[in-house]
């Protein structure tokens, strides 16, 4: 534990972990996240479902009895006139079906409502009207067993999707893969933005504190950069582990409250069953972790290079879009990659190091040929090493240029200086 690298890592790590702001944010963020998860469910449980009273003025005499209410809508046939119903504030919705409503429903049916109906209620009323009119029309054909025939020909086609390129032929649900991919992408995006900028700020802070010449006369810039990136990376891992534990614990505590909502959701259940597939999960986990770490390393090195080239946080703010834009591009590209994980575009964006971590997050849950994973990872980690080397050079030249930007020639010359 006495190499300069480990000393820098431990300083970066301990300095951050001991700060009050770290402790507070580490404890508060999961609370907010759990609150976000629970709030909608809790609100639904607490608030009484609102029932819309619908009065139907049915001049056909055939529609009203075929409308069936649910929890949110109740239908009632009314003999009253429209004008008098309008005065009745117990009635939320009035449906007027004129005599020729069966033949020309588009023009002969009018719906009046007090305030906005809401999408769910609106579509429910529409579907009830459609069904009722269809029913009346079917009756008009007078075919005795037509309903039974219709029931018999109805199909619900849900099929098991089996991967030909996998030896174990495990079934994979693309909905679950999609979910995992989106989740991982968002997580990586946040991770890079939060902790990459932390690396940037840490380097700029040293410049502002005038401490950097003391540091640079004790340690190589490359070691300093690497130490900062790894130290802050460890902070990130610590924070995420704590978050995971807290969120996990809260979820277990909260689940009974949400109870049925989760258990009855078939997609959620499918996700859980998918996740219990051991070998798939293990390789997914390992590769995901490697790309996650690689993505952090690559982008934090870019942030470090930006910080090396500027003197203050204002200049850095403008330059940091150099890092932010590719991250966003990567996330956007992976949206299209998710839809077509084996396309040529997908292969390329998952090899270019700027987008590869995000693209691979998107592709991995669908399964990626091993050679592509190997090439992508090699390119990513090699780029990281190159960037660290480069930004150590920029750092060294950047500090001592009296605020002038280093030229490419100078960076090359520096690279040769032993």
């Amino acid at each position: 534990m006495n190499s300069p690298l480990s000393i820098i890592i431990s300083r970066e790590y301990l300095e951050r972990v001991k700060r009050k702001s770290f402790i507070i944010s580490t404890l508060l963020v999961p609370v907010f996240m759990v609150a976000l998860m629970v709030a909608p469910a809790a609100l639904m449980l607490l608030s009484e479902p609102e029932t819309k009273a619908v009065s139907v003025i049915d001049q056909t005499g055939k529609i009203a009895q075929r409308l069936h209410g649910n929890g949110e809508v109740t239908f009632a046939t009314s003999g009253a006139q429209l004008d008098s119903l309008r005065q009745n504030h117990d009635v939320d919705v009035i449906i007027v079906a004129e005599a020729d409503a069966i033949d020309r429903p588009q023009t002969a049916i009018t719906v009046y409502s007090r305030g906005s109906l809401g999408i769910a209620t609106d579509s429910y009323i529409t579907s009830q009207l459609n069904r009722a009119i269809e029913d009346v029309r079917l009756d008009a054909y007078n075919m005795g067993n037509i309903r039974q025939i219709l029931r018999e020909v109805e199909v619900d086609c849900s099929y098991p999707a089996i991967r030909l390129d996998r030896e174990d032929e495990s079934a994979s649900s693309s909905a679950v893969s999609y979910g995992i991919a989106m989740f991982l992408d968002m997580l990586l995006y946040m991770f890079i933005l939060i902790y990459g900028q932390m690396v940037m700020n840490s380097i700029i802070e040293e410049k502002n504190n005038r401490v950097l010449e003391l540091v640079v006369s004790s340690v190589k810039p490359k070691t300093l950069m690497l130490g900062k990136i790894l130290g802050i990376g460890s902070v990130a891992i610590t924070q995420i582990i704590i978050w995971a534990v807290i969120i996990g614990a809260c979820t277990i505590w909260v689940t009974p409250l949400m109870g049925e909502a989760v258990a009855s959701d078939p997609e959620t259940m499918a996700m859980f069953s998918q996740l219990s597939d051991g070998s798939f999960l293990a390789s997914l986990l390992v590769y995901t972790l490697l790309f996650f770490i690689g993505g952090y390393l690559f982008y934090s090195a870019i942030y470090a290079a930006i910080a090396s080239a500027v003197d203050n946080i204002q200049d850095a703010g403008q330059l940091s879009s150099v890092a932010t834009i590719p991250v966003i591009l990567g996330v956007v590209a992976s949206m299209s990659v998710i839809n077509n994980p084996a396309s040529t575009l997908a292969v390329w964006v998952s090899i270019i190091p700027f987008t590869s971590p995000m693209a691979m997050m998107a592709r991995l849950p669908f399964g990626v040929p091993f050679w592509q994973i190997a090439v992508s990872m090699a390119v990513l980690y090699a780029s990281f090493m190159f960037l660290i080397w480069l930004c150590a050079k920029i750092y060294r030249v950047g500090i001592f240029m009296y605020g002038k930007k280093p030229t490419l020639l100078e960076i090359i010359k520096w690279a040769k200086y032993k």
Binding site: N2, E15, V211
Partner: protein, 315 residues
């Protein structure tokens, strides 16, 4: 002479600006070497090159007989002019961090840090945060961090800025003690008083060039001329008459409370001193006689001005 460090023919250009133009310095081992020069002359750039922070465009730096490499950096202690500390860290932790970066083990570093903290009477700062310290207090910590790992060569860039006279004296004492133990010290400053007190040799850099180099005594000798001062009791006119054949510019000073008068005279060469003193002795009561040596301030100004007037600035 044994040189710990030799920098030869160093050139360094920044965009549109030459920082060092063919500068050579030879730093003798075990001496305090003053690096002087007006603001922006290139001193700090030279120090950074010696310290392996910046590379020269051309020229060689030799350390202990071999080419300076990154591996020599641990043998050099550098107190930069632009210095700061991590604000949020505690003093002791921070000193320990830098000491360990220089390669000391945690136990060794703690032990010698405690000794130095005691020596400079700052032991009770160990658990304070740096942001609570004054500038001078932080400087003491930085000084300790610089010398703690006992490097062969120490480089101090304006070490006394921010210090009160008492603490500056403490620091000077420590610097001389380090020299007496065999450490070589490069010392860059604008404070000529401290140069006279501390330096054995100096180099004066002006407009990116080394315009004056050598031992402090020989340089003062070189700039001294043949000016002499008499402190005497007696008739000034008698003295003036007696000295007339030996020199020019006879100037009479004020008479102090005890009746001592002073007079100065400029001679053509040092040959005149002995017969002049004999003649003066006949004329008045001589209390003191000395050759007037120029102060470093005067040498600095006259060297820089004569260089600048004979080399008008390029546009």
């Amino acid at each position: 002479m044994d040189h710990i460090l030799q920098a030869h023919d160093i050139c360094k250009n920044f965009v549109g600006h030459t920082a060092l133009d063919n500068v050579s310095v030879d730093i003798p081992r075990g001496k305090v070497y003053g690096l002087l020069g007006p603001n922006g002359a290139g001193k700090t750039t030279l120090i950074r090159i010696i310290n392996h922070i910046t590379a020269p465009d051309s020229g060689t730096v030799t350390f202990n007989g071999h080419r300076l490499t990154a591996a020599d950096v641990p043998n050099i202690g550098y107190l930069p002019e632009e210095r700061g500390l991590y604000k949020k860290m505690k003093v002791g932790e921070q000193a320990l961090f830098f000491a360990r970066l220089k390669g000391l083990s945690k136990a060794d570093a703690t032990k010698s840090l405690r000794e130095w903290f005691d020596k400079l009477q700052i032991s009770d700062w160990w658990d304070k945060k740096v942001e609570e310290l004054s500038k001078g207090m932080a400087q003491k910590v930085q000084f300790i961090v610089t010398v703690l790992h006992k490097p062969e060569l120490l480089i101090f860039d304006e070490p006394f800025s921010g210090f009160d006279p008492i603490n500056a004296a403490v620091l000077k004492r420590e610097i001389l003690e380090l020299r007496d133990k065999g450490t070589t010290i490069i010392f860059s400053t604008h404070n000529m008083g401290s140069v006279e007190e501390l330096c054995d040799c100096i180099t004066l850099i002006n407009r990116s060039r080394n315009i004056l180099s050598g031992g402090l005594h020989s340089i003062r000798e070189q700039f001294a001329g043949h000016n002499y001062e008499f402190t005497f009791i007696g008739n000034p006119d008698m003295l003036a008459g007696a000295l007339n054949p030996f020199g020019s510019n006879f100037t009479l000073g004020a008479i102090d409370a005890d009746g001592n008068a002073t007079a100065t005279i400029t001679c053509a060469d040092s040959q005149a001193a002995r017969p002049m003193l004999a003649a003066a002795n006949e004329a008045v009561d001589i209390r003191a006689f000395r050759r007037i040596m120029p102060s470093m301030d005067q040498i600095f100004i006259s060297a820089v001005e004569s260089y600048n007037s004979s080399n008008p600035a390029k546009q």
